[in-house]
C-alpha cells in the first residue's frame, strides 16, 4: 500500500542514515534553503554557502505567519531570522562563505571559487579515518546551539 503523508519520516530517516556515512559529506547552500528539506541534505562535515544565498528554519512568509499570524510581515521576519551567509557563519551553522563577485564573467568566477573550496575540503578530509569522519560530523551537530547554564 502506498505510504501517505510521511515526508517528515523521510527527512528523519535521511538524516539518520547520513549520520552513519563513512565518507565526507560536503553540503552547499546555493540558493534558498529552508526547513527540514534543506536540513536533510545539509548535515555535512562541511557546510558551505554562497555569499548571497539564504538558509533558514522556514520561508520568511511562513515564519511571520506562524510567529505573528501575519504573512505580510515577511520583510520584518527576514530581517530578524538571521538567514544570510554572514549571520549563519557568525552563529557557527556554516563553515565557509563562497564569494560571489559581480560583473562580467561572474558565473565562471563563482564556479571557480566553489570548485576551489570543494577541492580543498576534500583534500583536508582525505587524510582522515572513517571513524574520524563520522565522529567529527557527529560532534559538529551534537554541539549545535549555544545555551546558558543556570545555577541550581
Amino acid at each position: 500500500m502506498q505510504k501517505k503523508g510521511d515526508n517528515g519520516e523521510a527527512i528523519a530517516k535521511l538524516m539518520f542514515e547520513m549520520a552513519k556515512l563513512e565518507v565526507p559529506i560536503i553540503a552547499i547552500v546555493i540558493g534558498e534553503g529552508s526547513s527540514g528539506g534543506a536540513l536533510a541534505l545539509g548535515v555535512g562535515n562541511k557546510v558551505l554557502m554562497l555569499e548571497n544565498a539564504i538558509y533558514s528554519i522556514l520561508s520568511p512568509e511562513g515564519y511571520s505567519s506562524i510567529l505573528w499570524k501575519d504573512s505580510s510581515r515577511y520583510k520584518e521576519a527576514a530581517e530578524k531570522m538571521k538567514l544570510t551567509a554572514k549571520d549563519l557563519y557568525d552563529l557557527k551553522i556554516i563553515d565557509k562563505i563562497i564569494k560571489e563577485p559581480e560583473g562580467e564573467g561572474a558565473f565562471e568566477k563563482i564556479a571557480g571559487n566553489l570548485k576551489k573550496e570543494i577541492k580543498s575540503s576534500i583534500s583536508e578530509m582525505n587524510s582522515k579515518s572513517k571513524e574520524q569522519i563520522v565522529e567529527e560530523r557527529y560532534c559538529k551537530f551534537r554541539n549545535m546551539g549555544e545555551y546558558i547554564k543556570l545555577e541550581n
Binding site: G5, K13, M81, I93, R142
Partner: protein
Amino acid sequence: MIVDKIKKRNLPEKNKKTRIDIPVGKWAKCEKCKEIIYKETLRENLSVCPNCGHYFRMHINKRLESIIDKDTYKKFDINIETSNPLELEDYPKKLKSLREKTGIEEAVSAGTGKINGEDVVICIMDSGFLMGSMGVVVGEKITYAVEQAIEKRLPLIIFAASGGARMQEGIISLMQMAKTTAALTKLDQAGLLYISVLTDPTYGGVTASFASLGDIVLAEPGAMIGFAGKRVIEQTIGEQLPDGFQTAEFLLEHGFIDKIVERKDLKDTLSKLISFHKGGEK
C-alpha cells in the same frame, strides 16, 4: 462604594479563606462533545472525556503520573536556558511567564524512572508550553537523554507532543533535528530499544526527527501527526487531501505507526514491550 470598603475591611480572615476555596476553574469543557466535566473526574479518567472518549492534551506531570511508577521519576540534572539567538525582545519574557503559568521549565521533561518495575529513560513533551516546540533546550535535553540511555544501557521512551521546531530560535531550532537524530544513530548502534509514542499534536521538525525514528512507533487514538499541516499542504499542491489524513488511524493503515494504544493501556503496553525486548541483552 463606602459600604463596600467597610465590608471588605471587616471581612474576617476565616471568610477570606473560604472565598478562595470556592471551586472556580474546577470544570472543563470537552472541545469535541462540549460536555462540561468535573476536572477531578477527568483526572481520574486520564484526561479522556468520559462522555465521548475525546483525548485531552496532557500536562507533563499527569503523563508522568500515568506512566511512571510512583516516586521513581528522577529528572536529569540539566538546568539550562536558551541564549535567545535571534535576540527577540519578547521571547525571554514569554518563556518566563509560561514557566510560571504551566509550572514546568520547558516543553520537555527528561529523566529516568520505572514502568511496572522496568527501568527506562523517558522524555515527555508538553504542548502546553509554546506548543511543545523544540528549541535548543528541548534539543539538548532529548539528546542528553539519548546519551544517558546509552551510558546506562536502558530503553528510551519519548512521548512526543509538539508543533515542531521553535520559530523564536530560528535556524538553531532546525539544527536540533540533526542533533537529536545523530544521537539516535548511536543508540541504534548500541543495540538499545527506542519506543516513540506520538500524542496529539506531533508535527514539523519533531515528526521529521526523533519522533519518526522509534524502533517501535506507538500513537494515541485520534492523535494528529504530520510534517506540514493539512491546510498548508492543500494550499501548496492545490489538491484536496483524503478524509482522516494525518490522523493516527490513517497513519497506522499506511504503515507509519505500528500500533494505536489507548491511554489507559499505555503503561502496560510499554512495560510488556520493554520486557519482551530484554531477552537479547548480554
